[in-house]
Symmetry: C2
Amino acid sequence: MNSSGLDALIEALRCLPGIGPKSAQRLAYHLMQHDRAGAARLGESIQHALSAVRHCQRCNTFTELDICERCASPRRDPELLCVVETPVDMNMMEQTLAYQGLYYVLMGKISPLDGIGPRQLDLERLLTRATDGVVREVILATNYTNEGEATAHYITAMLKPRGIGVTRIARGIPVGGELEYVDSGTLAQALRERKSLGA
Amino acid sequence: MNSSGLDALIEALRCLPGIGPKSAQRLAYHLMQHDRAGAARLGESIQHALSAVRHCQRCNTFTELDICERCASPRRDPELLCVVETPVDMNMMEQTLAYQGLYYVLMGKISPLDGIGPRQLDLERLLTRATDGVVREVILATNYTNEGEATAHYITAMLKPRGIGVTRIARGIPVGGELEYVDSGTLAQALRERKSLGA
Ligand SMILES: [Zn+2]
Ligand SMILES: [Zn+2]
């Protein structure tokens, strides 16, 4: 577009997953021509989020506090700890209205092909969290994909020897499917039918 | 995601065309967890573009100068003026390597359903530009959609009585199609086969 500032914007938009060179051009054109107010809001919110948003010290989700509101709530059952891959998955669990316990958000999953193992996921933090003496049951709600399953297996092997009860949400979720695309009813059913792992 | 800064970012991302609530969540999660450097670059480039990018006084495209580099170039033929709807369309024309004249970018098209008529497009500016005494031929390269055709007809009716030669790129472009999705060869052909309009 013969404009270095615009070229930089087009290039920067390509950091968004799924946005190729042509989509980036169209997005930049749309923002500059049709929605400068939206663009200003987007620029500000990115910079605010970068400076303010960090990880909850207890559940690892995004928050602007040391301990997020959910972890600090006296209305949640502290004996239940549900492990999910992402904050979006946690939201999906909340929308079922079928769960009143706490969470731990992995912010990823074991994925050898991407070089992500237990160390990169910092599973030691989950071990510390789960062995605080209050947690009685860890509910594994990772996806039923290969990576999600491998992650669940690893966490089970890590926690069972410590005497922590470990359950897995039921395979009501389609094999190969991801929590994010499942309806709340199916997910609620899978939660109710969770089963104990190991011997 | 239980974080006002993150919620604001998710909401702001929805100003991008084609991004719904779920995509916005995923994009925000991706930026915060996996690409904070990309996010910082995006935030900065948006704010820089908003402050630096404006419209070329001659061709109306985006630029950081009063007169863009292309308009100021002595190597372009000033007797030819190609009218396109968007900067992306101008880039498409340039990629054909079949055109050495100048441009006028409408930054839109006549679209009554969206309340965009000749006045909203500021076609008076095009009239002034095309009647500078140097321009000999105006080549209409608006899309072959209903709106692009209506825009071409309106501009033809505006310029012909002033004695300006008006041509239309050939309908090598599929009816209903948009320049942005046509390969360079087809577009070059359409340019070569442009035909005179009016009696
Ligand atoms: Zn928390
Ligand atoms: Zn120009």
